[in-house]
Point group: C3
Chain length 345, copies 3
């Protein structure tokens, strides 16, 4: 899009200009790489000294910086950045292709108006797709699955049969939605596959990362709540329910039949056992292993995960274990001597 003045950008984010409101901004960049004609942002006050070294023409800040630079003061600079990137760069433009005749769309499937289907896409029997959806090459949709409006399925994404996908859902490349849950009954030393008859429901505004796997329910459905964003290579077990507006960072794994509340944030590589109840607004630090229920509003860390502040105090102590053992030994010797001295008195 064409360049904007700093004032135009400030108006767009309900912010206030410090400096020259007429400077033209052409694009967005980071503090360290930005140059003339670019705007950057300071989301964390601890980098404030870096502002004076930036080559940017302007910076978005939460509070006025004393550095001599054009500024937009915005309450939430990171959200202002998001709005400005959308304004100036926009989301990915998916090429209008209509319905490719090299795709395979079942006669019983229905697509709303404005849908685009690239080559090598398979849409199976009785699939219902809303308006303005975009299917990249290699996408597979199993029979009886329903998809809402404005969804994007990236190359080689797979959605199995009988799933329900809301509006504005994004499924990244090579992700799998609705594969069989890992459900076997072991009898006389052999594992018998239990048909997985539950569904996967992805509510509105969900995003699923590349090579993620969302197992369909064994009996009950697996549900990903509205607005929840799931990173690359995340695995969600069968029958698990993730509440709305959660962030599951790449490589998280959650076992089956667990319930997670709303607005939870799980760090990278976190593992959660099955059949647990995780409250609302729970934060779990990277690589933690959750083995029990977690309370709403708290932060957890470690394996097994305990309250984060307590876990941190314990973790920093770990390297001192050998020293602690030595000190115990030294104490034992001294006590022995004191006791011996005493009895020989």
């Amino acid at each position: 899009m064409k360049p904007q003045t700093l004032q135009q950008l400030a108006d767009h984010v309900s912010g206030k200009v410090i400096g020259d409101p007429n400077v033209f901004i052409e694009s967005v960049s980071t503090l360290h790489t930005a140059g003339p004609g670019q705007i950057t942002f300071l989301s964390n006050v601890k980098y404030i000294n870096d502002v004076k070294d930036t080559g940017a023409s302007a910076v978005i800040v939460a509070q006025k910086s004393e550095v001599e630079i054009n500024q937009i003061i915005a309450k939430d600079p990171y959200f202002a950045l998001q709005q400005i990137v959308v304004l100036m760069h926009g989301h990915r433009k998916n090429k209008p292709v209509g319905i490719s005749d090299k795709s395979n769309i079942a006669e019983t499937a229905t697509l709303g108006e404005g849908c685009h289907v690239q080559d090598f896409v398979t849409i199976s029997d009785n699939v219902k797709v809303g308006k303005n959806c975009y299917f990249y090459p290699g996408v597979f949709i199993g029979q009886d699955t329903t998809i809402g409006d404005d969804c994007i399925l990236y190359p080689n994404a797979v959605v199995f049969e009988n799933c329900v996908i809301g509006d504005r859902v994004i499924v990244q490349s090579n992700a799998s939605i609705g594969e069989d849950g890992f459900g076997f009954s072991t009898h006389n030393g052999e594992h018998y596959k239990i048909p997985q008859i539950g569904r996967v429901i992805l509510e509105d505004d969900v995003e699923i990362g590349v090579s993620a796997g969302i197992e369909r329910g064994a009996l009950d459905d697996t549900v990903i709540g509205k607005g929840t964003k799931i990173g690359d290579q995340v695995a969600i077990g069968h029958g698990t329910i993730i509440g709305p507006h959660c962030l599951l960072v790449p490589k998280v794994g959650i076992s089956g039949s667990t319930e997670v509340g709303h607005h939870c944030v799980f760090g990278g590589q976190v593992g959660v056992a099955g059949h647990l109840k995780i409250g609302d607004m729970v934060r779990v630090g990277a690589q933690s292993g959750v083995a029990g229920n977690l309370e709403s509003g708290k932060s957890y860390l470690g394996g097994p995960a305990i309250e984060a502040s307590r876990a941190k105090r314990a973790m920093v102590m770990l390297p001192y274990l050998p020293e602690m053992k030595k000190r115990i030994k030294a104490l034992e010797k001294k006590i022995e001597k004191l006791t011996a001295d005493k009895s020989s008195e």
Copy 2:
């Protein structure tokens, strides 16, 4: 399928009816969500109090419950459940499509009778496929690979060249079988790729999860033993041999040239180093890191993994580390005082 009487179901699983043998059962559900016409199950006695709250028409139990509800008594309720779900719901029905002319099957490839190949499937030179196999869209089979009878390859599953797949093997979507092992020779600071000339052998009844990766052997073969089930996003290194009837839960990673015995169970996110020997019937708890050989029949936990009971005792102690350090310091002070008092006597 049509509804069954409770007696019919009990007969099917060699179980015994308590209550009304003529009640009709239409489907299977979980304890908490089941309603009239549904049967549910109690696999763990600790949930026995939940039985009285279920809306189900009947419940499968190991021992007679005192709750007033129709019951099937079965030795192994979870196995009975499996049999009943198969009876009433069945495994996934793969639509009969014959051989799509939008697939690409090499002239030198052979397929047994009853195979179905969907669009956009590639079957390369000299591939031999048995009877009644089903290939979903986007599947790729490399040259000289052999596949047995009754296998299912889900969308975008990839099997590289010269692999051997037994009967009734299931490969879930976006999984890779027989990709190059992570084998490089580092010389003068550069990594030289070592051609990976081993194969992957998946024995009968193996299942491989979505986005899993089974590396082909560097020189020797990688082998997954009969009946072993491998979860989503599991990685198996080159030349590793997994015995029969193991369960590798999602996100397990096993490095190369390790040998795992039969009937082992590895929890989620377990990592195993290379060149190790893991015995038979070994259980490794979630997120453990296995750095040495493990003995048959034992349970292990932790990083590095040690015997599970010992690991658990140590893990629960971790949060008390700061307190322990304080107590050591207090002791040191008291000893110092006692010693000083003594020498001043």
Copy 3:
């Protein structure tokens, strides 16, 4: 290829023959499985006793073995092995297929001479591909992406738009390059997607494993340095820069905006937080969690990762925690008694 004499192989790797220079070698195998006509290798002196049990006709060693067996003495036996496997077995032969008319190549895309494109491949607008590249079925290349010479993209690999791939790059099956970074601005409890306008740059000789995900940059580019090899199911965050000649073993996860130096080696399942600086030649042990900057040339281990030698000393102490606690308690009792005795004197 036809058999080679031991002398020919020795000459090929600038090695020296001990024993019969005229013995014919037909293929390469491991110490334990090799038979007549095969050559094997000893990369680690600790297995030297196994040499006498091998059935191989010859063995590659660093120093002359006293065992009565034909030998090639090579400075770096593992590198000699690599050279011999390439000589005798070669890298994978990709079948010459030309440009399939069942692929979809945009009119505005250009391919250098010697390229092969299999069925069901999509090459989008303005893509520029160098010479002798090979695209397996199901590959997707987004618009404006540039690919160098001699690259191989395996089945269902996905490269998003506007990425830059060097020469001799290998992307394994089902991997994703350039998907959106996990970038959201949370405002009033909802997560707003930030358009990810950076690129992914894979420099020359990079290899990316199956189902790996390399996020495109939010604003700056994500870069994988020359010669770096990335294992299966690795995740690299947006804007992260990995230096040249690193080895990232399967299942490593590195968050966004982190800088990693050259010749670093990260073990399986290692996690690295975002916005960190990792030096050159850093080694991080399997399953470690890196939460701070790391110094060049050092080895690290643990969660959080500390210097490896110190971490190992602490880790072996962990199982003794319950015992340590008991000993502290015993000391406290003794001290109490000593103090009581003293005051009653």
